[in-house]
Symmetry: C2
């Protein structure tokens, strides 16, 4: 059906365009714009300009500017998921136990992972506010998403919570909506940190707030010891 081959994939360089990865190039330019200035900075003409192509050329690959933003948003979500997964791995792969006080409890690793991905979520929001805002703002009508597939970061969270459930550590009263409640808490905290009143707070106090919120989430979700 397609006359032209997909991406060339041989020469990584631009190859004078025309038959290149224009879509990806535009999207990447959009990502960079979003990184600096948030979703409103994803200007179609500017992305085209940076790629060195006519403005209307973008319309061969994106239905509208909104579609471009959507692609950028998807990419931002991927970055987020990578960041969280890395954090989860780093927290999980600690078989020596170093000097931590209590690590013999069952599921302690899962709890550590939960904390790690929560912190990673916040870190992402603070270090990449533009990208965070881009996937955070839900374009007029987001409609149907499939969570674990469309939002891989959510999959990381549900995975860790399933670990906890397997260890019998999840309070059955709150278990059903645990992923959403937990996500909402840290997501809300991230937003409050970005443009809410917490935006003018020193990092150490912010860490304390995160600890406090994490404690609330944990004592709210875990079964009483």
């Amino acid at each position: 059906m397609s006359v032209h081959p997909a991406p060339p994939a041989d020469a990584v360089v631009a190859r004078a365009y025309h038959h290149g990865h224009l879509a990806e190039a535009l999207r990447d330019a959009g990502v960079e714009l979003a990184r600096v200035g948030g979703p409103d900075a994803v200007v179609l003409r500017e992305a085209a300009r940076q790629v060195g192509v006519s403005a209307t050329a973008a319309y061969r690959h994106f239905d509208s500017q909104t579609a471009l933003v959507e692609a950028v948003k998807q990419r931002a979500l991927e970055y987020l998921a990578e960041h969280m997964q890395a954090a989860a791995r780093a927290a999980g792969a600690r078989p020596d136990g170093a000097g931590s006080s209590a690590d013999a409890l069952p599921g302690a690793a899962a709890v550590a992972r939960l904390e790690a991905i929560g912190r990673a979520y916040l870190e992402f929001a603070l270090t990449e506010p533009g990208l965070f805002r881009t996937f955070c703002i839900g374009l007029p009508l987001m409609g149907d998403v499939d969570l674990d597939s469309d939002v891989p970061a959510f999959g990381v969270l549900t995975g860790v919570l399933e670990e906890l459930a397997a260890d019998g550590l999840l309070d059955p009263a709150t278990a059903q909506w645990a992923p959403i409640s937990a996500w909402a808490s840290v997501h809300g905290l991230a937003i409050l940190c970005l443009d809410g009143p917490l935006s003018v707070m020193p990092p150490d106090e912010l860490e304390a707030i995160f600890q406090g919120t994490l404690r609330m989430v944990l004592s709210g979700l875990l079964v009483r010891p």
Copy 2:
């Protein structure tokens, strides 16, 4: 200093403008635009058009379109505070106790108020998504806000939580950041409901999610019974 008197305040009607409440009129038009289409719909020229005035006339009262949006945002925050206060009053003024199972506990009224304002917050987000998004999105740099004064809705929350603290019901471990943690949770939930994956959920299930999150917040913040 001011040559012209402030708002006439005698004739409520427009009085052919020129010396009227143009600023308020523009802001109100902006509120209506935001109500329908969110923050991006607050178009300066459109607001001026609706008020029946030249586009640049707005610049006598607002430094820029951003300033107009800021005014709309402030108004939206006022609406939110009113909604929450009304809910708190309605929940608090129930001296008979009707058929509730356990209402003799100290601070039960405060807990009810906390639930009420949380629900009110969510209600506002769902029934006025445009206004909610408008005050939610924190224009590039919100900078210095004073919480209880600039964000009256936050004052309502801290008030209820102080009630709980006075009754000795707040867990000292999480008390310090309780307002922020609680706000973050319900705020995040609201956002997830608006343009997150929860946007396609039936209302009854949404109520269950709210209940679950509320349970998490309560059992995370209150002292163990």
